[in-house]
């Protein structure tokens, strides 16, 4: 068959296959579709397909076939680049150029694909000639853009765009034929030689279009769009320095939106075009032209965003920069003050403001004309308010795209630094006015008339939606900042408005109470509105009064302290205290408005609402309560108590007397507040409102905040409210207290124990708190009848109750109490292990027992002395044995048997992981010697042995368990390789089986974990003397071959390649001779002479300059070779 005939035949096949691929699903079977797909897959792998491809491009009229042909051409070019002569390449490129010039009607996607092929060819060529040829081509393109007809102009733009696309990405480039280093240097070369020129001529072309005064024709608009696209691509170009690590470069290159793209960093050669004021004027002018068109406007807006924040060597002269920015600001203010910003523009506009503020240090702003700064701030304030309102209406309309919401979050950020610099660069008066406006707008958007504007509360309430507190966390924090700048405005306003709502509530209650009320939809709505308003105002109040301290001790914000001090001259302390103690409201006590501290007013309102809730529940009117609002109040009280209650006075420069008298350490008033809060916790636990898990967590959180500081806990343990809590759990029916509460209460009891300084007092406390439970447990299990009654439901419930309490107690252990808690609880561990035998059929009991061990290992193990650790390890052995005895060889019919196994193993792995951490983190001051000689590592190896047979492939397919398991084994092999690889070789063997699976079966993250495991094992064995003596050495050996085969068959995802390189290096260190043999074998397996040669070369390059001595430097060097190796072999190994 001649080549021509062959080409004809392929064309026919492809067109037939193409029509199958594009046929509707009802007309072709799956098999037919798969067969058609195979035709194209095979076509892609054709060797030297150039003339065939040209024939098809010339003859076929089917777009899909043309598209595939271009793809085949691209793959072949990448593969054969070095084999083709310069002439062949030039000719092919010319041909492709002509092809797209010739036919104006080819489909856009085919044209794009062919342009990509051309771009790859140009880029490849430039690597060899330093960009000479490309510059010539750009000359031609420039002529096209300025002198050609519209069609040629568009084509010219498309070529530039394809080129930029090809040069801009280096890490995830489509052209896999080059190493990353070559991609990178090609990018740098392009950037230095041609990028600026592209920007200049595109800007110039834009200017030409701007001059066209009349209505722009659709064709001109298309050119405009392309030009904007080019300019945008230049301005978001990642000018990345070589010092940046590759993965960071990859991250930068992955970002294409304006909000996140790195700020523009330009060299001094850009000065002329950028600092020319007409450039900025032009882009703003173009924006005026295109802003109505959603297809274009974002390209232009992105340009404006990037132009707002230029840095780099371009600014050697500070005044030049100031002039540039002044011009920019003037244009910007003109824009935003003339038009109403649309939702789709809002994010870009907010980003510009953010970048302007972030781009200059505050002193920079003081050098701008004050009028300009004033205008800028005023406009920013208006925009902030506008975005807040926009976000609220988006919420009301339940829109999916929340652009104003995002823009609002975005525009709030720069305010932090504006407010922080008020008085210096930004006039304080302006900032305060802005704060008042923004705060008021935000408040209005979230409450209903008459003060607010919100007219409906989530009609379509979606239970999966995040709570307001979480979803609006960031916004609320910023609103808190505004609020603290003007507390004299915000605090009285909130007090007044919340009290107004309480007044409305009273009216309603009276109405219901008097019995003349018809329950109706609108009545319910009225109640909901009140709840919603109070809920939001407390969210806001909480964020003004406290700052999220993220782990640091919470403090009274200085602005609030200052406000309180300022107010204190008029404040009547006695009245303030009375006010708080009686949960009074300003509206009920004439004259209290001035004489009571604002903070205390708010706290008193919160207390008042707690009392109201209590009364409603007592009167069986709980339907008038809102669980959500109740939770918000509890949250507010927790935040308040952390910052204000019994503050550490040494932390503050100035102190407010009213706050100190009401909440200070060693005051009656503070003790009263603490006791009040404890009573609130107790009430909530019994309350019918508190059925939702998150509400319970809030309540337990409030309790924790009262006991986790020693100076508070010292008072807590003497409070009547604390012992009421204790009695509550003791007296209430066991099954009516949810597990979270039981565990939470005992955690709190446990934490509070830290407050006792004297041993005697502490022992007395334990005797009261935990001894009864332990005694009860003993009594049950030592009862003669126990083996008969253990299965009775009452007994099982009792055992579970005790377990919850023990778990809570263990989870509250801290360094000072660990030893005591351990001595109290440890004896029960062995009893509980034994109970696994009796209760093995009750998964929930077995779970709780393992969880108790988990809490031990999580909270206490790191503080345990050697002798205590020994005892704990022995208990672990016993528990693991017991578990194994009842679970190995067991077949279950339970409908959720797999789920049970999953949960068991998951907790088990958690336990072992915590135990293992003792090998790294040992905070006990003990240097004693272990009696048993067992370490944490031994326990883990033993545990692993039990887990292995239970770990089936089906279970490993569950992602959570899978990653937990592989993380643990990797961790183990790194921490205690000797125990795993040599002392427990049978287990090692078992783990290796799972590693073999993990390398290919569960995705790239698991592959990485497995290669890490191999690396740890190999590097350990390599360091052993006479490693060949160990069985592990021989067990690990097959992995070298396995890994190499996976690499050569491209079965390792590129995301896991970097860890694979390290593992391969270490394996070669262990097995150098095998490596030689395997590579020879892999080479000889090939049949194509050319490929044999290239593969042999690739292997030689892989090991060039590398000593396989296990040293870090060599490992890194090998990794570089390995990267080139994989790039290299991918290019040629898998073609027909």
């Amino acid at each position: 068959m001649t080549e021509m005939e062959q080409a004809q035949q392929i064309l026919l096949e492809l067109e037939a296959a193409g029509s199958v691929m594009l046929a509707s699903p009802s007309l072709v079977t799956n098999e037919q579709r798969n067969a058609a797909e195979t035709v194209f897959m095979n076509f892609r792998k054709t060797n030297m397909p150039y003339s065939i491809c040209r024939y098809i491009l010339d003859c076929s009229k089917v777009d899909f076939v043309l598209f595939e042909t271009a793809g085949t051409l691209r793959d072949a070019l990448i593969r054969d680049w070095l084999l083709l002569s310069q002439d062949q390449k030039n000719e092919l490129r010319q041909y492709l150029f002509q092809f797209i010039m010739r036919d104006g009607n080819i489909a856009a996607f085919v044209r794009e694909r062919i342009l990509q092929v051309i771009a790859i060819m140009i880029k490849r060529g430039s690597v060899e000639d330093g960009g000479q040829e490309r510059s010539n081509i750009l000359d031609e393109v420039e002529k096209l853009i300025f002198n050609g007809d519209l069609r040629k102009q568009i084509l010219g733009c498309s070529i530039v765009l394809a080129l930029m696309q090809e040069y801009s990405t280096t890490v995830k480039s489509t052209d896999v034929g080059l190493t990353w280093e070559s991609h990178y240097s090609a990018k740098k070369e392009f950037e230095a030689r041609d990028l600026r020129r592209i920007f200049i001529f595109s800007t110039h072309a834009l200017n030409e279009i701007q001059k066209l005064s009349h209505q722009l024709s659709p064709d001109v608009l298309t050119v405009l769009k392309h030009l904007l696209n080019i300019c945008e691509s230049v301005l978001v170009w990642g000018f990345i320095s070589k010092t940046m690590p590759k993965y960071l470069i990859g991250m930068f290159e992955g970002i294409y939106n304006s909000e996140n793209s790195p700020t523009l960093k330009l060299g001094s050669d850009w000065k002329e075009i950028i600092t020319n004021p007409s450039t900025i004027d032009l882009y703003f002018h173009i924006y005026w032209i295109v802003r109505d068109n959603p297809q274009f406007s974002h390209h232009c807006l992105n340009c404006l965003v990037q132009l707002s924040s230029i840095n780099g060597n371009i600014w050697t002269d500070i005044s030049e920069r100031m002039n540039y920015m002044k011009n920019y600001l003037e244009n910007f203010i003109k824009l935003v003050s003339t038009v109403k910003i649309l939702d789709r523009e809002s994010i870009g506009i907010s980003t510009i403001i953010k970048r302007i503020i972030n781009g200059y240090n505050p002193s920079g702003f003081s050098q701008f004309p004050s009028d300009l700064v004033k205008q800028f701030l005023e406009n920013t304030t208006l925009l902030t308010c506008q975005f807040a309102e926009g976000a609220a209406s988006e919420e009301k309309l339940c829109q999916d795209d929340q652009m104003f919401f995002e823009a609002f979050n975005n525009i709030l950020r720069p305010w932090v630094s504006i407010i922080a610099n008020s008085n210096q660069s930004f006039p304080e008066e302006l900032c305060k006015n802005a704060s008042i406006q923004i705060f008021n707008t935000y408040l209005k958007c979230h409450i209903s008339p008459p003060y607010g504007t919100k007219t409906s509360i989530d009609v379509e309430f979606n239970e999966n939606e995040e709570e307001d507190r979480i979803a609006n966390k960031e916004q609320l924090q910023y609103i808190g900042i505004f609020g603290r700048l003007i507390p004299e405005h915000t605090l009285p306003l909130l007090v007044n408005l919340i009290e107004g709502e309480i007044k409305n509530m009273r009216t309603i209650i009276e109405h219901v109470h008097s019995g003349n009320c018809q329950w109706s939809e609108s009545f319910q709505q009225k109640i909901n509105t009140i709840h919603e308003n109070i809920h939001w105002m407390f969210l806001i109040a909480g964020h003004i009064l406290t700052v999220d301290s993220e782990g640091e001790p919470s403090m009274i914000p200085s602005e609030i302290m200052h406000h309180s001090i300022k107010q204190s001259k008029k404040v009547n302390i006695d009245m303030t205290l009375k006010f708080l103690n009686n949960q009074m409201l300003v509206m009920d006590i004439p004259g209290s408005e001035e004489s009571v501290d604002d903070v205390i007013k708010l706290v008193s309102i919160a207390f008042h609402l707690c009392e109201l809730e209590k009364k409603l529940i007592e009167a069986k009117m709980e339907s008038l309560c809102s669980p959500l609002l109740s939770g918000t109040i509890v949250w507010f009280l927790r935040e308040f108590s952390q910052a204000y209650l019994m503050p550490n006075e040494t932390y503050y420069n100035e102190l407010s007397m009213p706050l100190l008298q009401a909440f200070g350490q060693h005051t009656e008033a503070a003790n009263w507040v603490l006791n009040y809060l404890l009573n609130k916790v107790e009430h909530n636990i019994r309350s019918p409102l508190y059925v939702d898990v998150s509400l319970i967590e809030d309540t337990i959180g409030l309790l924790m905040s009262l006991v986790d500081m020693r100076h508070k806990a010292e008072i807590v343990i003497n409070c009547e409210g604390f012992w009421k809590l204790f009695q509550l759990q003791d007296h209430i029916r066991k099954d009516q207290l949810v597990p979270e509460v039981k565990e939470g209460l005992f955690k709190a009891f446990s934490l509070a124990a830290d407050a006792f300084i004297g041993k005697d007092k502490q022992n007395e406390y334990w005797l009261r708190v935990i001894t009864p439970t332990i005694d009860k447990f003993r009594k049950i299990i030592t009862d003669d009848n126990f083996r008969k009654v253990y299965n009775d439901d009452e007994v099982r419930l009792e055992i579970m109750d005790i377990l919850h309490k023990c778990i809570g107690l263990a989870s509250g252990a801290v360094i000072n109490t660990t030893s005591t808690i351990f001595s109290i609880l440890h004896p029960t561990l062995n009893d509980f292990s034994a109970l696994i035998g009796l209760y093995h059929n009750y998964q929930n009991i077995v779970h709780l027992i393992i969880l108790l061990f988990v809490e031990f290992s999580k909270k206490m193990l790191c503080f345990l002395r050697m002798e205590e650790s020994d005892r704990f390890y022995m208990s672990c052995y016993q528990m693991v044995d017991m578990y194994a005895r009842y679970n190995i060889n067991r077949v279950s019919l339970d409908s959720d048997a797999e789920d049970q196994c999953y949960q068991d193993l998951f907790i088990f792995l958690e336990l072992l992981t915590h135990i293992m951490s003792k090998e790294v983190l040992d905070l006990s001051s003990d240097v004693g010697k272990s009696i048993t000689g067992k370490t944490a590592g031994d326990v883990c190896v033993y545990g692993l042995q039990v887990i292995l047979p239970l770990m089936t492939i089906d279970l490993l397919k569950l992602p959570g368990l899978c990653s937990q398991y592989y993380k643990f084994t990797g961790y183990m092999c790194e921490m205690v390789p000797l125990k795993l690889c040599i002392e427990s070789v049978e287990i090692f063997k078992g783990v290796l089986t799972t590693i073999e699976l993990g390398l290919t079966m569960f995705g790239h993250e698991i592959t990485s974990l497995c290669t890490d495991f191999l690396q740890s094992a190999a590097s350990f064995l390599y360091r052993q003397e006479n490693c060949i003596m160990h069985e592990a050495y021989h067990l690990l050996k097959p992995f070298l071959k396995f890994l190499m085969e996976l690499i050569l068959s491209c079965q390792i995802s590129s995301d896991a390649l970097s860890s694979t390189g390290h593992a391969l290096y270490t394996l070669i260190c262990c097995y150098p001779e095998e490596f030689q043999q395997i590579s020879m074998q892999l080479i000889n397996n090939q049949t194509d002479v050319q490929i044999i040669d290239r593969l042999r070369n690739a292997f030689t390059l892989l090991t060039t300059n590398i000593d396989f001595n296990g040293q870090h430097l060599m490992k890194c060097r090998f990794k570089n070779n390995f990267d080139s190796f994989t790039t290299n072999i991918r290019g040629f190994l898998f073609v027909k």
């Binding site: 509360i457 989530d458 309430f461 239970e463 109640i527 909901n528 709840h531 919603e532 809920h535 709980e622 339907s623 809102s626 669980p627 959500l628 609002l629 019918p688 409102l689 059925v691 939702d692 898990v693 099954d735 009516q736 207290l737 949810v738 597990p739 083996r787 299965n791 439901d793 035998g837 059929n841 009750y842 998964q843 929930n844 779970h847 005895r885 009842y886 190995i888 060889n889 067991r890 077949v891 279950s892 019919l893 339970d894 409908s895 959720d896 048997a897 789920d899 949960q903």
Partner: protein
């Protein structure tokens, strides 16, 4: 949720109750509950509200512990639900009768012959292992007056 109020169960034959009441909110995943008069294990539990400021309702999904069939129910969280007493006991397998009944011996030596070989794979495995002379331990699940073999385990020397 129509018939929560009037859901009521007969007490067991011995007069002892086969269920006990529990506040809906105190139920937890992996626990048991009666759904549509069947003892079920809770495999999913979620709360929903009547509105943003409304009170919670609990949505329960359970699997019948005997048939594996799925049941669902929704209930105001303050209401009580019935929780079945669920027992699991181990027996030594001593014989299999020709008509497919198991002869089981409890811990204290009592014999019973009222349970059939379970259906499906587990039954086949049970028969095979028994025929091969292996010692077998059978777990019997009992709740609301129903009983069946739910799991088997080949006895190893380790066991008591």
């Amino acid at each position: 949720m129509a018939d929560i109020e009037d859901t009521h169960f007969d007490t067991g034959d011995s007069g002892a109750s086969t269920t006990y009441p529990m506040q809906c909110s105190a139920l937890r995943k992996n626990g048991f509950v009666m759904l549509k008069a069947r003892p079920c294990k809770i495999v999913d539990m979620s709360t929903s509200k009547t509105g943003k400021h409304g009170h919670a309702k609990v949505h329960l999904v359970g699997l019948d512990i005997f048939s594996g069939k799925k049941y669902e129910d929704i209930c105001p969280s303050t209401h009580n639900m019935d929780v079945p007493f669920v027992k699991r006991e181990d027996y030594q397998l001593t014989d299999i009768s020709d008509d497919g009944y198991l002869c089981l011996m409890s811990d204290n030596g009592d014999l019973r012959e009222d349970l059939k070989i379970p259906e499906g794979d587990i039954g086949v495995q049970l028969k095979n292992e028994y025929d091969n002379g292996k010692e077998l331990l059978c777990t019997v699940l009992k709740s609301c007056g129903e009983e069946c073999v739910i799991a088997i385990k080949t006895n190893t020397a380790l066991d008591k």
